[in-house]
């Protein structure tokens, strides 16, 4: 009520301004949310009924059958397992590498500091490109291995610099007093620095986890032919592309073949939801961390 009274008392130009602002907000909200709700509705609708079209944001003939169908496939369960595994392993390893490197280059007394900083910074600008990288992976015998998911991207300069700028904000006196108490650098890192760096670590963990969960191209390039190593995103990619592209392009074929016979919209949308939901559950809770992390990273670089 009060808000309306306050609104009415303003000059008309400000009122118009306010209206425009709220129209934009509503527009953005609808345009962002509608597609997701639509996908959800189709996935919960009877698949033969879905073909009739006209579904909006609620299912017309509600059923869980599409989900039962996709979970009955071994391929999807393997994909789920591999995706979860690579997300967990990749995130943990990425956190360890980024925080250790960040700690060492935050120490002004460290001899290797300048060299390592420059060395890492350069990796953000130079890259050999797709083909030399592919050949490297092949020469290292990493084709058709799980390792190809977590090892090549282990060190990320961007993440290191974000954590480092956070550590820079922690008073050095804490490290000095720990040293006086007889702690070495190893203990200082685990007992003093890591606990204080939690907000930055949460941000980076989210970035890493999202990156791992959403990756599909490495599977396509390196592990597409080994059925036991395909990820959820890759399976979804195959299913979604199967209508538009020639399925023979994909080396691991059997999942696609089966899905093509029974893959009406509803089943595809159910897979989409399975792939999407884990992230949607997590990110709002971590929002305050990543907003801070992004801002910090932007200011520093």
């Amino acid at each position: 009520m009060q808000a309306i009274r306050r609104f009415a008392g303003r000059p008309w130009s400000d009122q118009l301004f306010e209206v425009v602002v709220y129209v934009i907000l509503i527009l953005v909200t609808v345009v962002t949310l509608y597609p997701f709700l639509n996908v959800l509705a189709i996935s919960l609708n009877d698949s033969t009924d879905s073909v009739r079209g006209g579904l909006t944001i609620y299912p017309r003939v509600p059923t869980f059958k599409n989900y039962e169908t996709i979970f009955a496939f071994g391929g999807l369960m393997t994909g789920l397992k591999i995706s979860v595994l690579r997300t967990v392993v990749g995130t943990l390893m990425g956190l360890v590498s980024a925080s250790m490197l960040a700690f060492t280059i935050s120490r002004a007394d460290f001899q290797g500091r300048r060299f390592i900083s420059a060395f890492l910074a350069l990796t953000m600008y130079v890259s050999g490109g797709l083909i030399p990288f592919y050949i490297l992976i092949r020469d290292l015998n990493m084709m058709n291995t799980f390792a190809v998911y977590v090892l090549p991207g282990l060190v990320s300069a961007f993440n290191v610099f974000i954590i480092r700028s956070f550590i820079d904000g922690i008073p050095f006196a804490l490290q000095e007093s720990a040293k006086l108490d007889g702690a070495n650098d190893w203990t200082i890192f685990w007992r003093v620095i890591l606990p204080l760096t939690k907000p930055a670590l949460a941000t980076i963990a989210l970035f890493l986890a999202v990156g791992q969960w959403n990756a599909w191209f490495d599977t396509y390039l390196y592990n597409g032919s080994s059925e036991k190593l395909t990820t959820l995103q890759f399976e979804l990619m195959k299913v979604l592309q199967s209508t538009t592209t020639n399925a023979d392009q994909f080396r691991g074929r059997n999942m696609t073949e089966v899905m093509r016979q029974i893959s009406p919209e509803s089943v595809k949308m159910a897979i989409t939801i399975v792939v999407t939901v884990p992230i949607l559950v997590v990110y709002p809770f971590l929002q305050k961390y990543f907003v801070k992390g992004m801002t910090l990273g932007a200011v520093k670089s």
Binding site: F36, N38, V39, R107, L122, N214, L240
Partner: protein, 322 residues
């Protein structure tokens, strides 16, 4: 990154006091720091620097499985082939078109949205819209491509439904089959996915503007639009310029995920970009040398654009990244 915090200065002092101590003595003292960094540095060397060595392939008639010394050097042959390939120019055109469109839209929209969000006084509303707008950023391009295809489809796609019911078109448009529309679809999908996320930095920059400026403007009777024009936008100008220069550097390296996932054989004349071209010709057909030549061309152009953009901004706005 160059500026030293008080923190570091203090650390430096304790360094200089011990100056004259032998390197190896220090090395032993800092053994844990070395232990924590050297393995990862080696790692970065293998996966970030070693592939650069692969650039030599572009100048060789590279055959897999033969030792480096036995490869036949062919000089610039593959670059000549590349520049003689008709398709290369089409691919270059697509790359530049989509990256320029992405650059313009990807800048204007988040800035406008950040300014609009900043004008919202009701905090719960602001937070809700922000949370919703971040959502697509966390979803993979695979999912986004699926959603976009669904929304634009001729059978029950919401965009066609709206267009038809408003009588703007008589029958549904086959969006995904029209090459001429592909660039716009990619750009729009990109904006949809990253708009909210990209506002974070601008919102932070806006938050850094002193409130006394707005107070003064209000006293002078400036409308909200005038406040935006004279205070908010100039206030975030440095942020805009730095981000702009960095994205110009990435103009040609726009990747290929979107194009790979949204494209199909019907629109390939408009959807092929440099990286995809390298993927198809280099890996798909096993022409490693040719593909690497494409990669090198890509990198050279990126660095060139970055330097040019930086130079221009240095002269005109005195803001630059180096």
């Amino acid at each position: 990154m160059r500026t030293m915090t008080a923190n570091q200065e203090r650390q430096m002092e304790s360094v200089s006091r011990k100056k004259g101590g032998a390197f190896w003595k220090k090395f032993f003292q800092q053994r844990y720091l070395y232990l924590m960094s050297v393995p990862f540095v080696l790692w970065a060397f293998v996966f970030s620097y070693l592939p650069l060595w692969g650039w030599t392939m572009a100048f060789q008639k590279f055959k897999p499985g033969i030792p480096f010394g036995d490869q036949k050097w062919v000089g610039l042959q593959y670059f000549r082939e590349l520049f003689a390939d008709e398709q290369f120019y089409r691919v270059l055109r697509n790359t530049l078109a989509m990256s320029t469109m992405g650059l313009v839209a990807g800048f204007v929209v988040p800035i406008v949205f950040a300014v609009v969000l900043n004008e919202v006084r009701a905090m719960p509303v602001k937070r809700f819209v922000q949370t919703v707008s971040y959502l697509p950023h966390f979803v993979s391009w695979v999912v986004v491509a699926g959603i976009v295809t669904k929304m634009l489809s001729t059978e029950g796609g919401v965009v066609n439904d709206i267009l038809v019911s408003l009588h703007i078109v008589d029958e549904p448009i086959q969006f995904m089959a029209k090459g001429g529309l592909f660039w716009y679809i990619v750009t729009a999908s990109d904006v949809w996915k990253e708009m909210g996320w990209n506002t974070i930095i601008y919102l932070a920059a806006i938050a850094g503007i002193g409130p006394e400026l707005y107070e003064a403007a209000k006293v002078d009777g400036a409308s909200r639009l005038r406040q935006i024009w004279h205070i908010t936008l100039p206030g975030i100008r440095p942020t805009i310029v730095v981000l702009l220069i960095m994205s110009i550097g990435h103009l040609v390296g726009i990747g290929f995920e979107k194009q790979f996932l949204l494209g199909n054989p019907l629109v390939s004349d408009y959807s092929q970009v440099l990286d995809l071209y390298a993927l198809n010709y280099g890996l798909g057909l096993g022409r490693f040398s040719f593909g690497t030549a494409i990669n090198i061309f890509n990198s050279v152009i990126s660095v060139f654009l970055l330097l040019v953009a930086n130079g221009i901004f240095k002269r005109t706005t005195k803001e630059s990244i180096f």
